[in-house]
């Protein structure tokens, strides 16, 4: 965002941004092993930093209140809903997004299984689905169907690809459906 005008210049409001959130803050976050400096309020969700500030559009907006999972990313390996994760809460933790999850063995195996079984339809939710699945396989390399239900029930797919998602997770893990 080089060359961006400061808000007070653009709006003509001189006494803008008072209070704790308004303080001019720059955050340095590590996304897919690259450090980025961003100048946003501390309460700005990671989702909008990724998309609108860094131009990384693989992570999707679906609901804004952690109900659909389209925005799932990993923060230090833990699946998080980036739409409700404030930038100020991340510190120096490592963020992984769909753009880089293929570099992990779990992510790579899942992406291949997704293609082998033709999981995607519209595809919009699949970034989040794969991120949730990758976190599952990192913690439970041999998941049961109950594990899959638990890990994946936060991700909505309106195209209804769930049967193939389940099968693809099993395929990537080398496990079978119950």
């Amino acid at each position: 965002m080089k060359g961006r005008r400061k808000p007070e210049c653009s709006t003509g409001v001189t006494k803008a941004n008072s209070g704790p959130r308004g303080a001019h803050m720059a955050f340095t976050i590590k996304v897919n092993e690259t450090a980025h400096s961003v100048d946003v309020d501390a309460d700005t969700p990671l989702l909008w930093v990724l998309r609108d500030v860094l131009g990384m559009y693989g992570t999707k907006f679906g609901c804004g209140i952690a109900l659909c999972g389209a925005c799932a990313v990993h923060v230090d390996g833990v699946p998080m809903r980036s739409c409700v994760t404030p930038i100020g809460s991340i510190g120096d933790k490592a963020i992984t997004t769909i753009e880089a999850v293929g570099k992990t063995p779990q992510g790579k195996a899942l992406q291949q299984a997704w293609l082998d079984l033709e999981v995607v339809q519209c595809g919009y939710c699949q970034s989040g689905q794969i991120m949730s699945a990758a976190a599952l396989l990192t913690n439970k390399p041999k998941p049961s169907d109950a594990d899959i239900d638990e890990a994946m029930s936060g991700n909505i797919c309106r195209c209804g690809t769930y049967q193939r998602i389940r099968a693809a997770i099993h395929r990537a893990a080398g496990t079978k459906e119950d």
Binding site: L67, V120, S153, C159, T161
Partner: protein
């Protein structure tokens, strides 16, 4: 409207500017809607099909990909006849142009009504065959041999006697100079020789959808673009009364506050700043005339209106007389709610309005309709309105409307530079255009043996066509509203079906995944089940007896019930329900196996679906559409319900407008019944079939007949 296309398309052949072969395909259409009335530009460099000197085939696709697999199935039609591998075909979104790219079934450039394959089944194969014939002729000329001694395979023309071969890329310039072959020399392949059609070819759009690279409308990035969050009047037809612009502008990153007739937009550097700006703006609304509308008023209005006769959609025999003389009479009222679409990609549109033109980046099912509306509101000529179509993160009919583009352009007209307007999920649900609330009255008369001798069905509800495509809303009859009702698959000697148009105040209505059939097949398949129960007959046997004249419907019913093990005992609390339908030129039967718990909760365990869609282009895509379509319909049957209170939609996000999740999803099995008929549509058929199979299964378990959707499980408490 959905007349089967049997006319042949016109083909033109020429050279591309950069060399290579161009096939221009124009399919005649019966009429054009108002926005397509003017002829398009006389020269358009985007032809339908181009083959370049490297042998790469580019297909300019007028249909949009929204998950249904059309970006794979349409190229398959072309590649089959052109004799190239699918990996040699590149796709481009078509620009808006009703002259070159109209969907011959829908009369304009649109993706909807499960029509893509049906509309282009013949024209695209013909285009491929013409291309193949020209390339073979070019090679034969060069070799000085007869074209009949040559054949094409995998992008190469081969002359077997001499063992010679020439790749298409080396033949395109010569082929472009040849006269268009006459139809008797252009033979479509015998289906038994198909090598691609009928195979589960890999989806061409899949690789970029698993690594985050696929660009949907919401992912567009334009230099110097700002982001807009919007608040639309909570009551349809209301206006912003007061806006605290100063407070909104004080939010860091906010650049501008824009007011339009029915909404306020906050323009900012990023979405979060824009959303905070909207909150800070504390908008007050003038609610307008619809501030007191409640769902109960709308239902009451429908109930009253449906007591009067409507416009006749079908009348055969004498249903009234037959009903009067029947041994047994059954009456029922069925109701289906307003539904939102809730595509995973919320509504959005990126716009740059300038004095001399306007660019839109949006995933739309209707590029020409959008272009025309934007031309009207900006005063710009159509050719100055550029639509850059994008992948759609779900359509389901929502993106057959251009309201989101119109709103974005009205905002962008006040913004210096490009702006991406993103709807919150709450705006997306609360300012959808809804599947109409339908209110249906049915009566049937059975003879002493239980056979239906009279059938009357009155559909009451909003007409989408009257607003959307008034040319085909003739004599007060909306064919879509009665599709699936006017032509049930059964032998019904005395049938009367009519339609009463009732427009709900303050609720915009629109298409949904399988509008007419989704509504009517629930009603018809539930009611036929009621008749079977009244006749004390097995629901499958009862249907079979009425399908003697309809072998394809009978066959899918037989296959589905056989595969599902119809009649085989199930544990207590579990049961099966069935449905059979003919819609979108596809025959389909579903058997649902479910469990009703003591508290009324429903758990669907298994859905078995048998399909006869004629020639199956890509069987795996068909299975995927069965799986997804059935879940879309199941979500609606179990949860889908948009209600109004004081003119406001009460639902707002996935907590109160829920969707099926993986832990609730049943196992779904698809069985294809092989057919030689021209392919039927498939994106919507499975959605229509599921609700009645579910409620019929509930009846089998509990004896309770569900006539209103979504299913009210409190009615099922202690019913097991």
């Amino acid at each position: 409207m959905l007349d089967r296309l049997d006319r042949r398309g016109f083909l033109k052949v020429g050279s591309a500017l950069s060399g290579g072969l161009v096939l221009k395909l124009t399919v005649p259409i019966a009429f054009r809607p108002p926005w397509a009335a003017e002829a398009g530009p006389s020269f358009n460099p985007n032809a339908f099909i181009r083959i370049d000197r490297q042998g790469v085939v580019t297909l300019v696709i007028p249909m949009v990909e929204m998950g249904q697999g059309t970006y794979t199935a349409l190229p398959m039609l072309l590649a089959e006849e052109l004799e190239v591998g699918l990996d040699r075909v590149r796709l481009e979104h078509a620009p808006p142009d009703d002259v070159q790219y109209a969907n011959p079934m829908l009369h304009f450039q649109a993706t909807g009504m499960s029509s893509s394959i049906r509309a282009f089944w013949t024209p695209l194969r013909q285009a491929g065959a013409v291309g193949r014939t020209l390339l073979i002729s070019a090679a034969a000329n060069r070799w000085g041999v007869g074209p009949r001694t040559c054949r094409a395979q995998q992008g190469v023309v081969l002359h077997s006697p001499s063992g010679r071969g020439l790749p298409y890329g080396e033949l395109v310039d010569a082929a472009a100079k040849l006269p268009i072959p006459t139809t008797d020399t252009v033979m479509l392949k015998d289906p038994k020789d198909f090598t691609l059609i009928g195979t589960s070819a890999k989806r061409l759009d899949a690789p970029d959808k698993v690594n985050g690279r696929a660009q949907f409308g919401i992912d567009v990035r334009v230099t110097n673009m700002k982001i807009a969050a919007i608040a639309i009047s909570p009551v349809f037809g209301g206006k912003p009364k007061s806006v605290n612009e100063t407070a909104a502008l004080a939010v860091k990153g906010v650049r501008q506050v824009v007011r339009i007739d029915n909404a306020v937009a906050v323009i900012a550097d990023h979405m979060w700043a824009a959303q905070k700006g909207l909150i800070a703006a504390v908008i007050q609304w003038d609610d307008g005339p619809h501030a007191t509308v409640n769902s109960s008023d709308i239902i009451h209005q429908l109930d009253e209106a449906s007591k009067q006769p409507g416009v006749v959609a079908r009348n055969e025999g004498d249903a009234k007389k037959a009903l009067a003389g029947a041994a047994q009479r059954i009456d029922a009222i069925y109701q289906m709610p307003f539904l939102a679409h809730a595509a995973m990609e919320p509504m959005n549109c990126t716009v740059h309005v300038r004095k001399d033109g306007c660019d839109l980046w949006v995933g739309t099912q209707v590029p020409t309709r959008t272009q025309s509306l934007i031309s009207e509101i900006t005063g710009l000529p159509k050719e100055a309105v550029k639509i850059h179509n994008q992948l759609l993160g779900g359509g389901f009919g929502r993106r057959l409307e251009a309201d989101g583009s119109v709103l974005a352009v009205k905002i962008a007209q006040q913004v210096d530079g490009p702006v991406k307007v993103i709807w919150s999920r709450e705006e997306d649900i609360q300012h959808d255009m809804y599947r109409p609330y339908y209110y249906d009255r049915l009566s049937a008369g059975l003879d002493a043996s239980g056979k239906p001798i009279a059938w009357t069905h009155r559909v009451s509800g909003s007409s989408i066509y009257a607003r959307y495509l008034p040319q085909i809303f003739t004599n007060g009859l909306d064919r879509d509203a009665v599709e699936g009702a006017a032509e049930p698959p059964y032998d019904l000697p005395n049938i009367h079906v009519d339609y009463v148009r009732v427009e709900p105040p303050g609720v915009p209505t629109a298409f949904w995944r399988g509008v007419g059939p989704t509504h009517n097949i629930f009603v018809v398949e539930s009611f036929i089940d009621e008749l079977a129960a009244a006749a004390k007959q097995d629901p499958v046997a009862y249907r079979k007896a009425l399908l003697g004249h309809n072998p394809r419907a009978l066959r899918v019913l037989e296959v589905a019930t056989e595969k599902a093990g119809w009649g085989r005992p199930l544990p207590a609390g579990q049961g099966r329900g069935v449905s059979v339908q003919f819609a979108f030129d596809t025959y389909l039967s579903q058997v649902v196996e479910l469990e009703v718990a003591f508290d009324g909760a429903i758990r669907v365990h298994r859905i078995v679906c048998a399909v006869d869609c004629g020639v199956a282009i890509n069987p795996d895509t068909i299975a995927a559409q069965v799986e997804g379509g059935a879940l879309f319909g199941l979500t609606a049957a179990l949860y889908g319900n948009i209600t109004l209170k004081n003119g406001r939609v009460e639902q707002s996000n996935f907590h109160d407008y829920p969707s099926i999740r993986i832990n609730q999803a049943p196992r779904i099995e698809t069985y294809l019944v092989k057919g030689a008929a021209s392919p039927g549509g498939f994106g919507e058929a499975p959605t229509a079939a599921v609700a009645p199979a579910v409620t019929n299964a509930i009846f089998a378990v509990t004896g309770k007949r569900i006539r209103t959707l979504p299913i009210d499980i409190s009615l099922l408490k202690s019913a097991v």
